[in-house]
């Protein structure tokens, strides 16, 4: 669609990234910024041009299409040479939009969504309108990205998960599928599947399903197998904790093919694919299910990317979970800061006691440390540098400290933390998951 627009100047290009996203935000607070509004008006035509499209049922049919031959990738963000903790203006605007979505929509909906294990329609619509799931999809492919940025994704995930991790996972799960297609897909795969995810009226849902049920699971060694049989790939195995599995339009699963872990595109209506419920301790709004693959035969052209792309997806997913954990841990910190000053025991606020105050201080210290590690890893990815060590560090810190932060968030409230009077017991359940989940989210 971008070929309809006048070619942007260099200055415009820098702004474009955030613009198309913000455009969809409509009446958000961020739109009160006059400079922003003026720029946004230039691209408002896009929304106006979109015709109404009939609601498409889950499990839509994908017609195999032939692409141009060369796949379209997101452009890497431009490298900088300064140590800097300030997001760019575009990133700040996108973060602000995500923050509002989190505060106005996700947080209020979270308790009921957790109980019901569903995403309310208005939450899904609002998130889709803001294009949160299209952050990594280039404009040429109908997305919103001028530059792909892991930092931007991390900032967005952090904000959304501060609102609610379960809803954030549900909303951003299709984004992971779209990003896999953008990053690893060939042009035919992009042509066949991607447009469903960029559809404005009814964007497709999907899940990047890497998890398996066995203890000591290592995503590099999935027990799910794929055997090549002529032009087909036959898949057998089980995938756990797949968000929205029962209503997904498309799965990307991992499987061991010729001894190598690979990603494979699996439409849910393929013979041999069944889904069962798999509720977990947390991220319940994401309605996790188990995906059973028994003799599932897909064309071998459904292999997505290379073995290296599989490891890239594993790494980016871990970083995404760490970013989400930062957001939920921030929610804990924000809450206990207020609660410990209001709650009185022995005649004074409990925050006046070192045992309580130091616990709050330690939450803040470990949280800030993790956030910086996540940012560093993401900015290294954006620079095209190896980020495997930083991602491992982010993962290890998430495992070690975020479960503790979740626990402290309950502990500081005592019995009040244990009952569903506050959000803290949900944060406890959600934060435990962030350090062990594989796949699902992607920066």
């Amino acid at each position: 669609m971008s070929h309809h627009t006048p070619k942007p100047t260099l200055a415009d290009r820098g702004q474009n990234f955030g613009m198309r996203l913000i455009t969809r935000a409509g009446g958000l607070e961020a739109m009160k910024n006059p400079a922003l509004r003026a720029k946004v008006e230039k691209v408002l035509y896009r929304g106006a041009r979109q015709g109404f499209r009939a609601q498409v049922a889950a499990g839509r049919a994908f017609t195999a299409k032939t692409g141009s031959g060369s796949p379209t990738r997101s452009k890497p963000a431009k490298p900088r040479v300064q140590f800097d903790l300030n997001p760019s203006d575009d990133q700040e605007m996108i973060r602000e939009a995500a923050r509002e979505l989190a505060d106005e929509v996700l947080r209020p909906a979270a308790p009921q969504a957790d109980t019901d294990r569903t995403v309310p329609d208005e939450v899904r619509e609002q998130a889709a309108q803001m294009g949160m799931a299209l952050l990594g999809v280039p404009t040429e492919l109908g997305g919103v990205a001028e530059e792909a940025s892991a930092v931007t994704s991390a900032l967005v995930l952090e904000e959304l998960a501060r609102g609610d991790m379960g809803l954030a996972v549900a909303v951003m799960s299709p984004a992971a599928v779209a990003n896999c297609l953008v990053n690893y897909g060939d042009s035919d795969q992009q042509a066949t599947y991607l447009s469903a995810f960029t559809d404005e009226a009814s964007p497709a849902t999907g899940a990047l399903a890497l998890m398996e049920p066995q203890p000591l699971f290592d995503p590099a060694k999935p027990q799910t197998t794929g055997s090549l049989d002529g032009g087909s790939l036959v898949l057998d195995g089980t995938k756990s904790l797949v968000p929205g599995a029962s209503a997904s339009d498309l799965f990307i699963v991992s499987a061991l093919v010729d001894g190598q872990p690979r990603l494979v595109i699996v439409p849910p209506n393929t013979d041999g694919v069944t889904v069962s419920d798999n509720p977990a301790m947390g991220i319940r709004a994401a309605h996790t299910g188990t995906l059973h693959l028994e003799g599932v035969r897909v064309p071998s052209r459904n292999l997505l990317g290379t073995t290296a792309d599989h490891s890239d997806a594993v790494a980016r997913a871990r970083l995404a979970w760490a970013a989400a954990a930062v957001g939920t841990a921030q929610a804990v910190l924000d809450h206990v800061k207020g609660y410990t000053k209001e709650r009185k025991a022995f005649g004074e606020p409990i925050a006046n006691r070192q045992a309580v105050a130091f616990t709050v201080a330690n939450i803040a210290i470990e949280l800030d440390g993790l956030r910086l590690v996540v940012w560093r890893a993401a900015s290294r990815l954006d620079r095209g540098l190896d980020a495997s060590e930083q991602i491992a560090h982010a993962r290890a810190l998430t495992e070690k400290h975020c479960a503790q932060i979740g626990s402290d968030g309950v502990q500081l409230l005592g019995g009040h933390g244990f009952v569903k009077e506050f959000d803290n017991e949900r944060w406890f359940r959600d934060l435990r998951g962030a350090g062990l989940m594989e796949g699902v989210l992607l920066v």
């Binding site: 995503p219 590099a220 070192q354 201080a361 803040a364 210290i365 800030d368 940012w375 060590e389 495992e399």
Partner: protein, 414 residues
């Protein structure tokens, strides 16, 4: 734009500091650990390198050197002054200082503390001195004397007195834990003009080391950082010119003590950087020794699929990275004129406890080799403990962080 790599312009400086660590400090590390109180003469021989580091433009040098102060000079971590708020992000001397200290302390913490003219007293002079005083004392080596036998973390309660007598102040009291107290040319002494007026009457005075009223009582024997001398002094009718009271001689109702405490805001990132450097040293050596024992951690594999030793190394690397980045953040904020008191304490708290945990764990993982003097792991474990104590203990850092976070006063959160 968010980017947390070492900026290109500081890479030569970091390499120089790394060279100093590897080529100068490491080879003599054990020697001065065993020969406590002996002056490391090699540091004099290397003074050209060290001054080169200090004068390399972008840097304040390997320590808290704050001799400059000329126009256009970047504000050092120890310099107290902050860069003005500008639109463009600045990578200045605060960042370069912590980066180079991380390297020299990877070499040796005690020797880093012994680098001439890099004392914490220099940081105090830079923080509170007027321009004339900076001119007079900027190029001298200054130690810092705050702690007293009965006054540790509550530095507002010091008992050393300063009484005005004509053009002089007369100082009386006892000072302990004065780093480089024997070797420095000056000692910055904290004393109160009037104990009944509390913290705000505390001022700092420059005392020449050869002042007959300043008597060296003893040098301490310590658990670690033995290359660095730690002195105890008594001040017995010690007379100093009135001009040697640093900064404002008046007792103000507010700001006085806060100004003095600001020295800590400025030196805490430096001590955090020392802890980060020592953590790096322990991790590097333990990783090397364990590799020879057949352990190779795989950052891409889940911790639970690896051996305990490999997983432990990866976990420690993660906490190292957290401490490292918290330290860089505190320095970056100072470079960019952002108030960083809480972040400086966060960095010091995380780096202090991480370096003790890592250094002790590396000894554990390497067993007899870790515990014996054949390697430096046991020394680093001993050295590490001071880094969670001086410039504010772990507990004091948590107090600072908690008070800021919770917006509680020192009378509410004691």
């Amino acid at each position: 734009m968010i980017d947390l790599e070492v900026p290109k312009k500081f890479i030569p400086l970091v390499k120089q500091a790394a060279g100093l660590a590897d080529e100068v400090f490491r080879p003599i590390s054990r020697k001065y650990d065993l020969a406590e109180h002996e002056y490391p003469r090699e540091l004099d021989l290397m003074s050209a390198v060290i001054d080169g580091l200090s004068d390399s433009g972008a840097s304040q040098g390997a320590g808290a050197r704050t001799t400059s102060g000329g126009a256009g000079e970047p504000a050092g971590v120890g310099a107290g002054s902050r860069a003005g708020k500008t639109k463009e992000t600045v990578n200045g001397s605060n960042l370069s200082s912590v980066l180079s200290i991380m390297q020299t302390c990877r070499g040796d913490v005690g020797l880093t503390l012994s680098i001439p003219r890099q004392g914490l007293g220099n940081a105090a002079i830079a923080a509170v001195a007027n321009d004339e005083q900076k001119q007079r004392y900027g190029s001298k080596w200054a130690a810092m004397a705050i702690t007293e036998p009965d006054t540790g973390s509550d530095s507002g309660a010091i008992r050393t007195t300063a009484t005005k007598d004509g053009d002089e102040y007369v100082l009386n009291g006892e000072k302990i834990f004065v780093t480089s107290g024997e070797r420095a040319e000056l000692v910055v002494v904290w004393a109160t003009l009037d104990r009944s007026l509390g913290k705000r009457a505390i001022k700092s005075f420059v005392v020449r080391r050869d002042n007959p009223g300043l008597k060296l009582v003893r040098l301490e024997h310590k658990l670690g950082i033995r290359a660095s001398d730690t002195a105890a002094f008594s001040l017995d009718n010690c007379r100093v010119p009135a001009d040697d009271l640093l900064g404002d001689p008046e007792i103000r109702t507010e700001g006085g003590f806060g100004g003095a405490m600001q020295t800590f805001d400025n030196t805490r990132p430096l001590v955090a950087a020392m802890a980060v450097g020592l953590t790096r040293a322990s991790l590097d050596l333990a990783t090397e020794l364990l590799e020879k024992a057949g352990i190779t951690p795989d950052p891409s594999a889940p911790l639970h699929t690896q051996s305990y030793a490999a997983a432990r190394l990866l976990q420690m690397e993660a906490d190292y990275e957290s401490a490292y980045l918290l330290t860089l953040r505190a320095a970056w904020m100072a470079d960019n004129g952002k108030p960083n008191s809480m972040q400086a304490s966060m960095a010091k708290a995380k780096a202090g406890r991480t370096c003790v945990d890592v250094a002790l764990s590396c000894v554990q993982l390497c067993g007899a080799t870790g515990y014996a003097e054949t390697e430096l792991l046991e020394k680093w474990a001993r050295d590490s403990k001071i880094l969670d104590i001086f410039e504010g203990t772990q507990q004091i850092q948590l107090l600072v962080v908690a008070r800021r976070l919770l917006e509680l006063s020192s009378s509410e959160l004691k």
